[in-house]
Symmetry: C2
Subunit: 278 residues, 2 copies
């Protein structure tokens, strides 16, 4: 069975719209876009579109590709001090001449709805729920909530190793009382872990690494990484075969963006609630 | 076989003393002690003693138990701005009327040699080696380096779940390319993970949880948690039996303090090096 990610995303948006309308708040999300490539612009447009559906006001601040570090930091200060803006993001990647890390660290953690600021990483780690988790680990947790209700005592294996995304996910899963295994390319035998796990999360960028003989019937497979070879999308999991085996599998190409943005809207609403002391 | 932690700690101090002398630096470590219990004073004295042996100058700032939040924050500012002090610690616990978290967050991350500041937690997570890891996970890694040379591809299970210490340890182990499993009290069958692991790290506070039938011959067991019942120390691992089974076991009661402090001195030396741009 393939879980319909789009349907789940849609129901998340529907519920969020109801909550936000009920709250009487009008959350404002801003985005700083240093205009450098068309993909970034496409992502920003997608965020604006979804914001509209859940009563979140979206403000775009465009900056030229030759913007200086100082000009960008001034803009950050401006958004930090603007009490009408509840949360904002800096669309990545930034041009090479900009120090990305020092920009991220300048964002007020209370407005950092992308969850990239050290203080938010730390809050996720210590399970402080005033923090914002990054959107990718957040939607994985959201999917697992829907599929499993909870992950208490479940064995979850994460195959892959990435500083920004997967360590927060491991932390979120540990917080949720799962038994968490993190494998990487130096793990001698990945099958040893995947074959008896309830949940397998793939994030390696190695096409077809997870094959039919490596999972048990009924395993939930969440595959968020794909590689494009000759214009064709290849997932880490051998999709078609595993599907036939009866496992629940996500995602269906195309819905990852919508789910990621849903988490951004949720974080923006939470920021507005926290700032209103609700 | 029981590994002689004291001997390892001693050799760490010897090597550190040589490195520091060679560097020509005279690192300065300061400690703020809010005088509230005799255990804290004992820990401080131990730190001073070890600092002397490695050419680290130790400065103690004592404050009365009724110190206010503002007075304590002023002291933090003072130490942040004092360029002669390379690193400092605030001896915990602080009295109940003090907001511990906001004190820790005020420490300049570059001088936070206890590794408690969010920026250092984050740096450990993203594997930025200008950060300071907390001393307990740091000495566990140090022990594993000595016992195993490296942990690449090794299966390590951490039994226990603590926000401050064990998540950084999991991150350090993942950074070092180990396959990491984190179990907790909701894990249905801990033996399933301990019995085929190369390294078992115990941190539950449940006496004798790890028994002979739960590990294979040759497993390295690191047990950092003990519980005192009727004046007697109980470790998480059933020590005597596992020892007979031929596994390497640490610690021997009494050396944990020395190893923890060794990491504090190492962090202080690294802070001095970083501040001198070496």
């Amino acid at each position: 069975m393939i879980i319909d990610g789009k349907k789940i995303a849609q129901s998340l948006y529907d519920n969020l719209a109801i909550d936000i309308k009920k709250s009487g708040l009008k959350p404002v999300l801003a985005a700083i876009l240093v205009w450098n490539n068309s993909a970034s612009l496409r992502y920003i447009k997608q965020k604006k579109k979804w914001a509209d559906t859940v009563w979140v006001e979206f403000k775009l601040f465009e900056m030229k590709p030759n913007v200086t570090q100082i000009e960008l930091e001034k803009k950050i200060d401006e958004l930090n001090n603007n009490s009408r803006i509840n949360g904002y993001i800096v669309q990545l990647p930034l041009p090479d001449h900009i120090n990305e890390k020092s920009i991220i660290n300048k964002i007020d953690p209370k407005k950092d709805v992308d969850g990239f600021h050290p203080e938010n990483v730390w809050k996720v780690l210590i399970w402080d729920d005033t923090g914002f988790a990054p959107c990718t680990p957040a939607w994985v947790m959201c999917m697992l909530d829907i599929i499993w209700e909870d992950v208490v005592g479940k064995q979850v294996v994460i195959v892959g190793r990435s500083n920004i995304v997967w360590k927060p996910l491991a932390a979120l899963l540990i917080n949720a009382w799962a038994t968490v295994i993190v494998c990487n390319s130096k793990t001698p035998d990945i099958k040893r872990y995947t074959s008896n796990s309830d949940i397998v999360i793939m994030a390696t960028g190695k096409p077809m690494l997870l094959r039919l003989d490596m999972v048990k019937i009924g395993t939930t497979i969440i595959d968020v990484w794909f590689t494009v070879i000759d214009g064709k999308i290849h997932w880490d999991a051998d999709f078609e075969i595993i599907e036939k085996c009866g496992s629940k599998i996500t995602p269906v190409p195309g819905w990852v963006g919508a789910l990621t943005v849903a988490m951004l809207m949720k974080n923006t609403y939470r920021a507005a609630l926290l700032q209103a002391n609700k």
